[in-house]
Amino acid sequence: MNPNEGSYPLLLMKSYWFLDREGGTCHALPHDQRILAERIKQLEGDKTAETPDWEYAVKCGFVKNRGEYLDLLHATALFLAADRIDEESKVDHPELILMVKMLDEIDTVINLLSERSVEWYRALNPEFSRKSEIPRGRKLRDLMRDGSDEALGEILDEIEQLTRRRSTLSMKVSAKAAEFLPNCSALAGGLVAARLAAEAGGIRALALMPGSAIQVLGARNALFCHLSTASPPPKHGLVYQYRGVHGSRKERRGKVARVLAAKLAIAAKIDYYRGESDPVFIEKAQETILNAGRSP
């Protein structure tokens, strides 16, 4: 080793989260959580990192005793963990997933309440039959509002409110998905992209998935039924909600779903690792997906 290089070769240096040891001397780091946390981040990728030795920390004068060592480690670990959670939420955007889950929950609630209201209304107006032409949605609610009692009317108002909340939330989800999952959203639409991320368990988890897994995301029961019995494999899960899948002829759906899922797998990787829209990719992918839907 050339001593003129000015610094000791790395191999002779031992680094701990609290100090550096070079030959016989040691340099303790300041008792500052920020600095110590930075140091730990540097060390954690390092395969040569050493198991910490608290006695050495005392010998070197970093701390007075084991109690102080543990206190400092505790404070630094807390700081680091909080920092990690922050970082995670910056790349994984958990709010998008929570929003789309909320949206689906509101849908379920609206449907349940509507069903119950119809039952209630029928009890009050026996001539009202399911067999007759029943309007749907808002028209149904308007119809029921006359000739029902006050309590039911209030609940119908409540459903009305929820429906409005649902549509604003749905727009917000689409906007957020376009921001955080720009390529997936461009291919499958914001809602489907967000639902896929939710089902996968996060944007990162979605990016790590192969296309074949994305194709059957949301078809868990069918998939496990296929794995344990002789039933046919599911052709599509959540991707069914994409217009090109449910809109195409039955015998082409499987193909569209497969091609779409393969392109979504690439799109998710671009979204997670690059974080920006790639117009060239999107255009080519859309064309491939369209072609998959056409008859041969």
Partner: protein, 200 residues
């Protein structure tokens, strides 16, 4: 271990997860913690005040808080951000919990923080749980114990739990880990086993 009548308790500040208090002690419910279930079956390694523990799969810190009441220090590893938020709250109150947000499959990430420990406790419910235990055994002192909560259903749902457990024990032994005892946690946790292991 501290028992009041036939109920397992630990000594420390209460109100971590709404646990009941008995005579100033925190009730450690065997239906909410697999480790408590193990002690209630008369098995397990007694925790002592000088013990250092590596806890893999700390989750929300329910069991961790009880372990911390008994031992000197707990290194609590948990990869997911949401349970980690709860664990941080528990760790603020208990200074001997060192929270570490990392994946237990990659111990090189927390080597700089974790010293040699007397007990490794693992409860992760992952298909590769045996391998996770094996890569973490480097942290154990040579005569230390590993308490391994095995969930055969997470490894393979299609085979019987006893069969899977037998395979895991074999796999561990090829990785240099000897299973001293296999305790099934029924009636508290059906189809869960606790393996008490040592480095062979």
């Amino acid at each position: 271990m501290i028992w009041i009548g036939d109920q397992l308790v630990s000594e420390g500040p209460g109100g971590v997860y709404g646990e009941r208090m008995i005579q100033g002690y925190r009730l450690w419910n065997p239906r909410r913690s697999k480790l408590a279930a193990l002690y209630n079956l008369g098995k397990g390694i007694d925790l002592e005040s000088h013990h250092r523990v590596l806890y893999l799969g700390a989750a929300n810190g329910t069991t961790v808080s009880h372990v911390a009441d008994y031992v000197e220090v707990v290194y609590a590893v948990e990869p997911a951000p949401r349970p980690m938020q709860d664990l941080i709250v528990v760790a603020r109150q208990r200074k001997n919990i060192i929270p570490i947000m990392a994946d237990a499959r990659r111990p090189e990430r927390y080597i700089p923080l974790v010293e040699k420990v007397d007990i490794i406790y693992q409860d992760v419910a992952q298909p590769d749980q045996a391998e996770i235990l094996s890569v973490n055994s480097r942290f154990l002192v040579s005569d230390g114990f590993m308490v391994f909560m095995l969930k055969p259903r997470s490894i393979d749902v299609t085979r019987t739990p006893a069969h899977v457990a037998e395979e895991v024990i074999n796999e561990l032994s090829t990785r240099g880990i000897r299973t001293e005892e296999c305790v099934w946690l029924s009636p508290y946790y059906p189809d869960h086993a606790a393996l008490i292991c040592k480095i062979s």
